[in-house]
């Protein structure tokens, strides 16, 4: 019988030893070692043929093209979504041109830093345009869509297409001096000096966010005209926008047979979700729509709180802006990363 008890003790010991395998690791290792720095890709890691961004954009001939060849582009990131004015995509620029990469993820600034080199394997992705602006994204399944590319979105495709290289110095914006240079710089980071405010505003919104977005009589309202707006900010949060709407500032727009101011004062709830507002400047005589998001961190912030300087802009004082130039049906649009660094009064 003593032998038996010995057996049992031995068995217990064996059990303890045998089971000290993988599942004991989280048990006995309290402090996990910090993971290694993730791999930094370089040109030598890339297979296939390198093309320039200009060459890639030139593949677009009026119809979306799904890339079948094993080609890749390399460039530096010029945009940052940290301040919220860019959203779900970033721009990549090489010596030849710049292009929007419609990655479809949020908080890209975490992994795609301004100035960081990025390699994009284009095979399986689609070059397409929206209102004339060529970008790189994914094939659109919905043929009725006015977009020719969709967001890439799927992490698997992102992981197999987009490779992060070393971080580096930020791209220096191209300093444009004449309007004729604009077209060559579409998609690129540019600096435009001498921009003049034109008292021209664009805004649109929906009475019912969940309603029919194409019902321009009862649901969707918009305005795209000059006036005396007295709006001292280029980006507006939903609350601020609602305040202006209710105050009648934007009564140039009508919906449901009345002005938007009257409508929202009458008790119709304001939908905070989907609205858009931007203002126009001119650069060397060309009109440029400066796009601003209400989600940007500088929404509602006075353009320049210094007494009188905002008034200076209204009165014609020019400004310098740095941002990405884009096009919309032949018109120029301009998107800045951060108002604190990309906007100065001349």
């Amino acid at each position: 019988m003593r032998l038996k008890s010995l057996h049992i003790a031995a068995l217990a010991l064996a059990m303890a030893v045998l089971s000290s395998c993988e599942e004991f690791q989280p048990v006995f290792t309290c402090k996990y070692p910090d993971p290694a720095v993730s791999r930094v890709y370089s040109e030598s890691d890339m297979t296939g043929t390198k093309v320039t961004i200009a060459e890639l954009k030139a593949m677009y001939k009026g119809k979306p093209v799904e890339i079948e060849d094993d080609i890749y582009i390399a460039g530096k990131v010029t945009t940052c979504d940290l301040k919220g004015n860019f959203y779900r995509s970033f721009f990549l620029q090489d010596e030849t041109s710049g292009i929007e990469i419609k990655i479809g993820k949020y908080n890209l600034y975490n992994e795609y830093k301004e100035g960081q080199t990025i390699f994009v394997r284009c095979k399986g992705l689609t070059v397409g345009a929206y209102k004339g602006m060529v970008g790189l994204g994914y094939r659109v399944e919905d043929t009725s869509s006015s977009y020719e590319t969709a967001y890439i979105e799927v992490q698997y495709i992102v992981d197999r297409s987009i490779f992060r290289g070393p971080e580096g110095e930020k791209v220096q914006p191209r300093r444009l001096t004449s309007a004729s240079e604009l077209d060559k710089s579409i998609g690129c980071l540019v600096e435009l000096s001498g921009m003049q405010y034109t008292h021209h505003i664009f805004f649109m919104g929906y009475v019912d966010y969940n309603g029919n977005r194409k019902d321009y009589t009862n649901n969707c309202y918009f305005c795209d005209e000059e006036g005396t707006w007295e709006v001292p900010t280029w980006a507006m949060s939903a609350d601020k926008y609602e305040e202006y709407l209710r105050a009648g500032t934007f009564d140039a727009a009508e919906v449901r047979g009345t002005t938007v101011g009257k409508l929202f004062r009458s008790g119709v709830p304001f939908s905070k979700v989907a609205y858009s507002i931007s203002q126009y400047f001119t650069f060397k005589g060309k009109s440029i729509q400066v796009r601003t998001s209400g989600y940007s961190k500088w929404a509602d912030k006075d353009i320049d709180p210094t007494a009188g300087r905002y008034q200076d802009i209204l009165k014609g004082k020019t400004v310098t802006m740095r941002g990405v130039l884009s096009t919309y049906n032949g018109e120029y649009q301009f998107t800045i990363n951060d108002i604190d660094t990309d906007f100065t009064i001349d």
Binding site: I8, A12, Q25, N107, N110, K113, D208
Partner: protein, 960 residues
């Protein structure tokens, strides 16, 4: 019961022995729980170590020895399923000595409580709780089966929530002050020290309380009640943790009046089924007790179970199907190749108990208890700032986000769906798991210049951190209880209890995950507001320093408030016994108050976040009536009725306790009326109980907070006026078969536990406290219509002049427990201490927890504000789980050496058929998507928990 020693009257010694002894000893043996008479108990009369007489108690529990000489005797009382006890009696002057009632405590049949019942189910802030109710094993034929046998499916006894089960420690009510949940985890791992328990079922009263409607479980916990001797065990199992080692020593009552006990254990390791779920838990119990004389006894006990447990998350069926495993757990990922769980429960909550017992006569016993619970209870989770949701099964990572065959979903990208699915199936780049390496790498490169003025600009601002949500309790109890046995007819049992609980709720930075600091601002508020003052979690700090606090490991952040609770109750049970008949009447009255004390001022709620909230108080009361009748031949019939008026719990009293002092509207007491009738038969090895029960619970409240897509905001929901009705039968049996040692055991529980009211809901925006709607009925909470369809495929509903014809109404049930549970086992015990068991189990009528938002008319209507039968059936019906059949078996053997050493093993294998499709619970998500037609909403998929497949437990033990 050792303390019954003090029942003895010590008096003068008899000087003269009479030639013809006329002295005697008589008494009644009762079950401590419920005070039913125990028929068939064995009473041995011992003098100077020799058994001089032996009797078996009569159906009314009585025994009587006559014709014995004056002198001192020892009566050893034992009964199957009860802990034995000894009574010392002195017979003098030739009189018949009446020891009156001798109470026996039930022996826990299953000392191996299934620890899987404590598995941390991560309800992901869904608003649902998942605290198990653990039916204490006892000699009750139903409970002895249900306690262990039903725990694998997380059975809720009679459909009641955890709060309904009253758990006492040495007469002190231990249910959590904030939530009311059962506190078993405070002493889990101390199986031996907490083995001696007095258990009552249903609406029965207890020695230590009036009790509620789901039983009272009093763990005796004092050292003299821990079984004497040394005990060691080693246990391995594949369902929860790999290894448990336990050692116990108890001195028993020593001659000098002292008693000591120690119990220590360690539970460590993962399991075969759910990766990331692990234990690293230790437990220590120490107690000392001194009996100073026949009157005074003092016990001091302290225990703590420090440790951590990895939690399991629920996922959608889509995810389980892609992974090919219903036990998939999204909470963990590899860090440097090692499994790391993001959600870990970490506790160190010591409990100190001082118990003084006073027994001036054998008719009166008084106990005074002081109990203090303190320490910390943390639960880790990931927190992130302006970064992607790191959870692998986040809905945007799933194929269903890209493609749904119904074009109305507007998700038509089959190619993207295929790529997403491929990534899941192939586990490409660890798609299935948390990517710790990625989180660290994001933090490594996170140079943020917003606060450069206040720190070294080379420090990196973590975008992902692991937070630890803490609920650190300070729980003070004072309890007094007395038993006065006025005569063999009348017993009065009364007491008072007081509790003050002060719990600090806050969170700390547990791990900066490779970064250097984090910032104490409200991430949610930042999405809506730009004014920095509004973003502050600690506005006072911001105003003083000009910037929010930069946080390092261990710093408090987010929220910080005290939950403060005062509970007081006075109670009494009166028991009248006339032979086999006993009548019990009980009453209690109480006072409860609760309030929140904010310790930080939040930017969003400057006036309503810091300092004391209102202090609602409640007068509560309860009453019970019961009657027992024991017939000849081991038959007992008993019935009870109860009315319980209880205060609401703190966790259901505040709209958003993390941010502000606002109370839930219509805060009121919860009123329960309950009744049961029971038949018990115990004789000749038969042990059968049949019970029918009914209960109605009224005026419960529930609060939840989650993101509401229709408001595009994080919102708070407060639902009041929730009523439930529970009714059913439970049957337990233990039947000896013809072959000696062979018996048939089983239990059957059938119930219908449903919601019966239309509660009212108030929704507020968390950021602004703006009321979205107030007191709107949750129209389809208690039931939802099932329409009469002409052709289901064509979606044509039968109509008449009043509109669509409703075929019937579907009742909505209490969720996450089978409402039909059955167990049948064949047991064989040999004389050489082998035992074999084979057991079949069937579980059915289990339902999914309902999200009330889906039961509101506006949600059913959709954006077009038109409610259609398709929408109502889709949105409001309650999901019923498939029934399940399980097969289990166990084997064991004990050896005795030299009449002193006992060692043995038991091995059980559960779910032998390896059924991996048994849903044990889950919850509905709260989010909605709008259809492309903008006519209706679609729900996000529900999330489920499953039971583990085949698993074993091997226990080796050694006792002496």
């Amino acid at each position: 019961m050792k303390k019954l020693l003090t029942l003895l009257a010590v008096a003068l010694l008899a000087l003269n022995l009479q030639a013809q002894p006329t002295g005697g000893i008589k008494g009644v043996i009762v079950n401590r729980s419920g005070r039913e008479a125990l028929a068939g108990a064995d009473v041995k009369l011992i003098q100077e170590g020799e058994v001089i007489a032996e009797q078996t108690t009569l159906p009314d529990g009585s025994f009587s020895f006559t014709g014995i000489e004056d002198g001192s005797y020892q009566a050893d009382v034992s009964a199957n399923g009860f802990l034995p006890t000894t009574v010392f009696v002195i017979v003098e002057k030739g009189l018949i000595r009446d020891v009156m009632t001798v109470t026996l405590s039930a022996d826990s049949v299953n000392s191996e409580v299934d620890d899987s019942a404590y598995t941390e189910f991560d309800m992901n802030d869904s608003g649902y709780s998942d605290t198990p109710t653990i039916i204490a094993g006892s000699n009750d034929p139903y409970a002895s089966v249900a306690s262990f046998g039903f725990s694998s499916v997380r059975f809720k006894n009679r459909g009641y929530s955890s709060e309904a089960q009253e758990v006492y420690l040495a007469g002190v009510k231990m249910n959590d002050a904030i939530t009311g949940y059962t506190p078993f985890s405070l002493w889990s791992g101390l199986n031996e020290a907490t083995r001696a328990q007095d258990v009552t079922h249903g609406t029965q009263i207890s020695d230590v309380a009036v009790g509620g409607y789901n039983g009272v479980n009093n763990i005796l916990a004092v050292p003299s009640q821990v079984r004497k001797g040394w005990r060691f065990s080693a246990l391995t199992n594949s369902a929860t943790y790999r290894l448990r080692l336990m050692g116990t020593y108890a001195s028993g009552r020593l001659d000098n009046g002292w008693a000591y006990a120690f119990n220590v254990s360690a539970r460590v390791g993962g399991n075969d089924w759910i990766k990331g779920v692990y234990y690293r838990s230790f437990a220590i119990y120490a107690g000392a007790e001194k009996k100073f004389d026949d009157v005074n006894n003092l016990a001091l006990v302290a225990f703590v179970t420090p440790g951590e447990r990895g939690a399991q998350a629920a996922s959608t069926q889509e995810v389980y199907d892609m992974v090919g495993d219903n036990m998939y757990n999204s909470n963990w990922g590899y860090q440097n190749g090692r499994v790391r769980n993001s959600r870990v429960r970490k506790t160190i909550e010591p409990v100190f108990l001082l118990k003084y017992s006073f027994t001036p006569s054998d008719r009166f016993e008084g106990n005074a208890m002081l109990l203090y619970r303190t320490g910390k209870n943390g639960y880790t989770a990931l927190d992130w700032y302006q970064s992607a949701d790191p959870r692998p099964d986040y809905y945007r990572n799933l194929p269903s986000y890209f493609k749904n065959d119904d074009p109305d979903y507007g998700k038509e990208d089959a190619r993207k769906a295929a790529w997403a699915e491929e990534a899941w199936r192939a586990d490409y780049a660890s798609t299935r798991h948390l990517d710790w390496d990625r989180l660290y790498n994001i933090n490594y490169a996170s140079y943020d210049h917003a606060y450069d003025e206040w720190h070294n600009p080379l420090e990196r601002r973590s975008r992902y951190v692991q937070e630890e949500r803490r609920v650190d309790q300070n729980d003070f109890h004072l309890a007094l209880n007395t038993i006065w046995r006025q005569s063999s007819v009348f017993t009065l049992n009364a007491g008072i209890n007081g509790r003050y609980n002060r719990s600090e709720n806050y969170k700390v930075i547990a791990d900066l995950l490779g970064g250097d600091y984090y910032v104490n601002i409200d991430n949610f508020a930042e999405r809506s507001f730009t004014d920095p003052e509004l973003l502050q979690n600690d506005w006072d700090y911001y105003m003083e320093h000009g910037h929010p606090q930069l946080l390092h490991k261990g710093d408090k952040y987010g929220y910080d408030y005290l939950a403060q609770i005062i509970d007081a109750e006075a109670w009494a049970n009166a028991i009248l016994t006339f032979g086999g008949l006993s009548i019990k009447a009980s009453a209690a009255a109480g006072y409860n108050s609760l309030w929140r004390t904010g310790l930080v001022r939040k930017g969003l709620f400057l006036d309503n976040s810091k300092g004391d909230s209102e202090k609602p108080s409640f007068f509560t009361y309860r009453g019970k009536l019961g009657v027992d009748y024991s017939f000849v031949g081991g038959h007992t019939l008993y019935a009870n009725v109860a009315y319980v008026n209880e205060a609401p719990k703190f966790n259901q009293a505040f709209v958003s306790p993390r941010t502000r002092n606002s109370l839930v509207p219509h805060l009121t007491t919860v009123k329960t009326t309950a009744a049961d009738i029971n038949y018990l038969f115990a004789a000749n090895g038969y042990n059968i109980r049949v019970t029918g029960y009914w209960a109605q619970i009224k005026d419960q409240t529930k609060v939840m907070s989650f993101y509401d897509d229709s408001q595009q905001s994080f919102t708070n929901f407060a639902m009041s006026g929730i009523d439930e009705r529970h009714l059913g039968v439970e049957i337990g049996w233990q039947i000896p078969l013809v072959v000696s040692g062979l018996s048939l055991k089983g239990a059957l529980a059938w119930g219908e536990h449903i919601y019966t009211s239309t509660p009212k809901m108030t929704q507020t925006i968390d950021n602004s406290a703006r009321v979205v709607f107030s007191d709107e009925p949750v129209k389809y909470w208690a039931q939802s219509p099932v329409y009469r369809w002409i052709d289901r495929d064509l979606n044509i509903v039968d109509q008449d002049a009043d509109g669509p014809i409703i075929d019937h109404w579907q009742k909505h049930h209490i969720a996450s427990t089978p409402q039909l549970a059955a167990d049948l086992s064949l047991n064989y015990r040999t004389k050489s201490y082998w035992f074999f068991t084979i057991e079949g189990q069937y579980f059915a009528n289990s339902y999914l927890d309902m999200n009330p938002v889906y039961r509101m008319e506006k949600t059913c209507m959709g954006p077009d504000k038109v409610e259609t039968p398709i929408e109502v059936e889709y949105m409001a019906s309650q999901e019923k789980f498939d029934p399940a059949f399980l097969l289990n078996a166990s084997i064991g053997k004990s050896w005795y050496l030299q009449y002193k050493y006992n060692f043995g093993f038991s091995l059980s294998v559960n779910n032998i058929l390896n059924n991996r499709n048994v849903r044990t619970g889950g919850y509905e998500q709260s989010r909605l998507t709008t259809s492309s037609s903008a006519e209706r909403y679609y729900k996000f998929d529900s999330k489920y928990f499953y039971m583990q497949g085949v698993n074993y437990m091997l226990n080796l033990y050694f006792r002496f």
